[in-house]
Every structure is written in C-alpha cells, then in structure tokens.
Symmetry: C2
C-alpha cells in the first residue's frame, strides 16, 4: 500500500535545509503528490530543490486532497518544529493525514499533536524515536554477505546517496544488494533502519550490528555512514558504525572545496590520506577492511573540474573515483564485486584477532 | 550536609558484582553507616568486599535506624533491580530513606516506587538518568588547565580508580586537581559528573566537553575513562571522551593476565602498543596528546609479579608505571606535573589543525 505524501518545506525550499524533502523526492518520488511551500506557490519544484520532478509547489493542503501523509521535509539545526508550522500540522491531522517527522523534537511528546491525532485517528511517526538497547556482541555473520560502509572527511558529503546509488548500480548488475539506512532521511527513503545518532551511546554499535545481522541474507550490504571519524561532535556515531557493522570495505566520500569542519569553522579537516588510514586502521581492529573506492562530491564546482578531481583522486589513491550524481556509481559497484570476489577466495577464514 | 548511607549488596557481596558498593565504601566511607546483606549478617565487610572498613554486615534496615539513604550497591549485567529486593526498597522508602541507584532501569520509571516516594516524601535518585542534549563545539578552554584522561586495553581495568588516586596524589603535592566522573559509580563518589554511556550518541562528546569546560578553573582535570577504543561494544563511548575532553595526556590502564575482551571471549585484545598508539593518534586529530604513564592492575597476581610487570612496562614504554592500589599514584602525579610544565612552556599556542 503506497502512501500519497505531501512534503512540507514551507519557507525553506533549498537543497540544504530541505535535504530530507530532496532525498524523499529523488528516491520515493512515486509516493509524492505535492510539495507545500506557500512562499513559492506555482513555481517548479525541480528549480528550487535541484531534483528532477514534474511538480509545482502548492500553497495549501486543500490543493492536494488525495494526500494521506504529511512529511516534514526539513532538518533544521536544533531539530525543532517551527512554531509557524503548528497550525498547518494540526490542519493536516484534522484532514486525517498521518504525520511523518525525522526531527529531534518528537511529535509524540507534544500533547496538542497527540490529542489531535487521537481524535482524528491518524498516526504520528517519529522516525528518530527508538528504544534500542542491545550492545554489540560480535555475533557470527554470513561469510558470503559483503558489508560496505560509506565514510567521509566530514558530515553532509553524500554518504547516504553514495550508499543508495551503489546499491542500485549493483542491482542493475544483477546482484542481491540492500541499502542499510542509519539516519532519518535514509529510513524515510528505505522504510527500514535505525537512527543511530539518537541511540544511547552504549548501544550505538549494537544497533549497527543488529542491522547487518538482519539483512545478511543479501550478498551486498551498503551501509549509510554518519559524521566522520575526525568530526569533534559526531565521531562516536561514526565509530559505532565502523565497529558495529564490521565492514569488509569502505567507500570514502568527500566534497571538493570543503576545507573546514561543518559546524566548527575554526578547525581544518586533516589530509584525506590520514582520515582514510585512520578509518581502515580502527575498523581493522575488529575485521579486515580496505577502502575500495572514492565518491567525489562536485556539487559546488563544474563538470570539468569534477572530472579532473576524479582522475587525480584515482592517481592519488589507486582506487576508482566518481561523482555518483554526474557519473553514476557503476565504478563503485564493480569495486564492490571485486572486493566480494577477493573475500570469497581468501583462504584465511577469519581475522587473526578472532580465535 | 552529609548523608548516612546503607549500601545494599544483598546476596552479591563480592568485589566484582558489588563494585559500586566497594568504591563508595572506599571513597565515601565516612558517609556509610552500614552494608546490608542478610546472607552474611555479622561477618566483616572488609573480608567480602576487599576494602578496609570497621563495619560488619547488617541483616535488616532496622539495625541502622539513623540511616537516611539506601544506595543500590551492585551493577548487574542488564542493569535490572532484582525482584527479591523490591520489598526491601519499599521498606526503606517507608522508613523515609532516599534511594540512590545507578542501574539502567530507573527507579523513577517504576510506578510503585514513585507512588511510595511521593507518599513518604523521599527522593529517588537515578544517577544514570539524564537529558543532556548538546553537541561538542570545540569551545576554547583555559590553557593552564591540563586535561588527563584514563584509557585502557579493556573495560573494568581500573580507569576510575586511577583517575581518583592520581587526583588525590596531586592534591597531596599541593596542586589544584579535580576528578571528573563519567560513570555511575564515579558520580556517586564525587557527587558530580555525567553518565556518558547513557547519553544519546550525538551528544556524548558534548557531555565530555561540558564537564571539562565546567571544571577548567582547576589546574589538573583527571577524567574517568570508559570502555576501550578496541572494545566492540563500547568504543563509541571511549571515543566521545577522547574527542570531547581533548586531553593533553593519557594514562594507560591494563590488567595483568587479561587477554580476551570482556563480554566477547572469542576476541583477543590487540597488543598494548597498538592500542596506545591508536588512542594517541585519534585524540591527536583534535589536540596534541601523549601517554604519560601506565596504571598496572595486579589484582589477580601477587606483589612480586606486579613489581616485575611495572618495571618491564617502564622499560617497554619509556614512561612511569605503577599499581595505584599497591604503590600509590605518586609517580602518575609527578608525570602529570611534568606534562603541565611542558605544555605551559610550549611556545606553540595551539594545535596546527586549529586556525
């Protein structure tokens, strides 16, 4: 049963603030009936959000009467629902629409929303809400299921998109592959996953282990990375994924021109070689792991500059590099196949660290 | 206003399961009026718990009528309150005693305890409960305040005790030093701190940063470490402390004879050199950091074997090594003074990574 969604981006219809809306539109476009921003009513959605779409913005809920779901399409710093949106959300509830939110502030903690939802018998879905409480235990995992985690030099450089595009490229090659969502947008797109940044720190590795164990019947798991091992705010979440998912391979994502840490502008990002080696080394403590490819994000530069960067990255690191939006992820999918072939032909059954 | 505490260790009076009781008795002994274990009534507490104490076990609450607080003195795997203790806790509440617990299961989530506490006007203190929600931001910190974090090759190797003993040894040398608690037992002992393993993973580094910023008026901060960077379950918590507290120095703690990871017996602990280097390297991404001393835990071996291990560790790593229980922490305190002197005489004002 497919949803009929309105994406709410009221007053914030740009690719950065509305990145949740952009990804849902890109990967679940068939479920999106409208995008609501009364400040841009009638304008084409694709021009504002940078995603191909035939839709134009609507200015009120009644313009899309078939819709059964309102999805909060922004991820503002702090995670709070703008006060000015409250009447709109209450109106959606009274129109019997379910509400989906990935914000840190939960709909279900808001008495007014809860009471309205009860009255109109609709569902409030807080994608970030969870009660996960299991530690990682190094459970045995199927040898034939290859785990690949996207990592990066900073947050917001395309780790989710790279994992999704590589999954799709593997599927096009006839492989059995799953995208493993670990953040609110990824969960909205895939309909499964755990929001690892909202899990109590003792259990964040356990959440990653749970996800790879659950999907290990697939031959390739493309795990959505979070943050970066050198990000002063989010590195514990990154490490929880690196240790909990025990990847065989990493895809390293970086954005051309990004030189300082997001949110901490007085800190320079260390050299890419250092970050890459640190990721491999700390993942390697639990499981043999190597970087198999580079996802270059060229969103702030032109096509020619991106091509040049990819060629230089291939020379510099000796592994395939591409911009998954501009070039597709076929190179990364082939690197994943080569990794799986190496792992399966490896006569050593386990890591020397395990008995 | 000092508390008059009964420590509850009913049926579990051994140094491992009752490690919370042991530490409270060792470091807050002046507040402990009795230890309750009806299965050992009349026996000397020191023999069971391995902590010097003139007390003998009591068999019921009425044997210590002056007491105003009952402290749950065990940390069982899973963190649950044993069912058989419920009548005892309810009796303590009806005797107008406050209840202090460090378990994952909160007293305040238990309707029966909450109702009884309301009726008898006593306080339920869940040391692990918190609503901390701030990310780390690399806030400027006072240059003269030296931050030293205890790390180790595994969990439960003496990181809290080493931090406390080094703080006390510095105080004996006339220095201004604070122990910074990051776990439930440390918080019970110090009366301050944050339970970092219970904080949402996005905010665990923020909690560590908050604590060092709060206490930076002191010249030495001895930060209680948690888990280990190579522990598959708890490494994200360890990294949150390493990045959030931005230590100048590390004290590396290990136990003689420990070869496999606690809770994951099929995993061998990597070589100490590798773990030490990994800690320095990943801390060094944000702030210059070096290991200044080794805390050898010789609880399972004799005095002679411990002395030999410490001498060998000093040769192997080129830094001071001692067993803080057997030898005191004076060597570590002097290493901290040497570190502070180096940092303050360093003509380079900040890390090359910062602008």
């Amino acid at each position: 049963m497919s949803r009929q969604m309105i994406l709410l981006t009221e007053g914030h219809s740009d690719p950065h603030t509305a990145k949740t809306a952009c990804s849902v539109l890109r990967y679940r476009g068939e479920e999106v009936v409208a995008v609501l921003d009364s400040t841009r009513r009638g304008a084409p959605v694709s021009a504002s959000l940078g995603v191909e779409s035939p839709l134009t913005f609507i200015g009120s809920l009644e313009e899309a009467p078939r819709a059964d779901t309102l999805l909060i399409g922004i991820a503002p710093p702090g995670g709070k629902i703008p006060v000015s949106w409250r009447p709109l959300i209450l109106e959606a509830i009274s129109r019997k629409m379910n509400i989906v939110s990935g914000l840190h502030d939960f709909l279900k903690d808001d008495c007014e929303f809860v009471e309205a939802a009860r009255q109109h018998q609709v569902e409030l879905v807080d994608v970030r809400s969870n009660t996960f409480r299991e530690i990682a235990r190094m459970v045995p995992l199927r040898r034939e299921s290859i785990r690949i985690l996207t990592v990066g030099h900073d947050c917001s450089v395309g780790k989710m998109v790279t994992a999704i595009e590589t999954t799709r490229a593997l599927e096009r090659l006839g492989e059995s592959a799953s995208f493993i969502a670990t953040g609110q947008t990824g969960i909205m797109v895939s309909g499964d996953g755990l929001p690892v940044d909202c899990i109590v720190s003792d259990f964040v590795s356990g959440a990653a282990e749970h996800l790879v164990a659950k999907h290990q019947h697939r031959d390739y798991l493309l795990i959505e990375g979070q943050g970066s091992l050198v990000h002063p705010s989010y590195s514990p979440v990154t490490l929880g994924l690196l240790h909990g998912s025990r990847p065989h391979g990493l895809i390293f994502c970086y954005e051309i021109g990004r030189e300082t840490v997001t949110g901490v502008p007085h800190m320079k990002i260390p050299p890419l070689e250092q970050i890459m080696r640190l990721n491999e080394e700390i993942a390697g403590v639990l499981h043999p792991c190597r970087t198999i490819g580079i996802a270059v994000n060229g969103r702030r530069v032109d096509v020619e500059r991106t091509w040049r960067e990819c060629r230089e990255a291939e020379d510099r690191f000796g592994i395939p590099a591409c911009d998954v939006f501009r070039h597709g992820a076929a190179k990364l999918a082939r690197a994943a196949q080569a990794l799986r072939s190496d792992v399966l032909s490896d006569p050593i059954p386990a890591h020397p660290r395990e008995d």
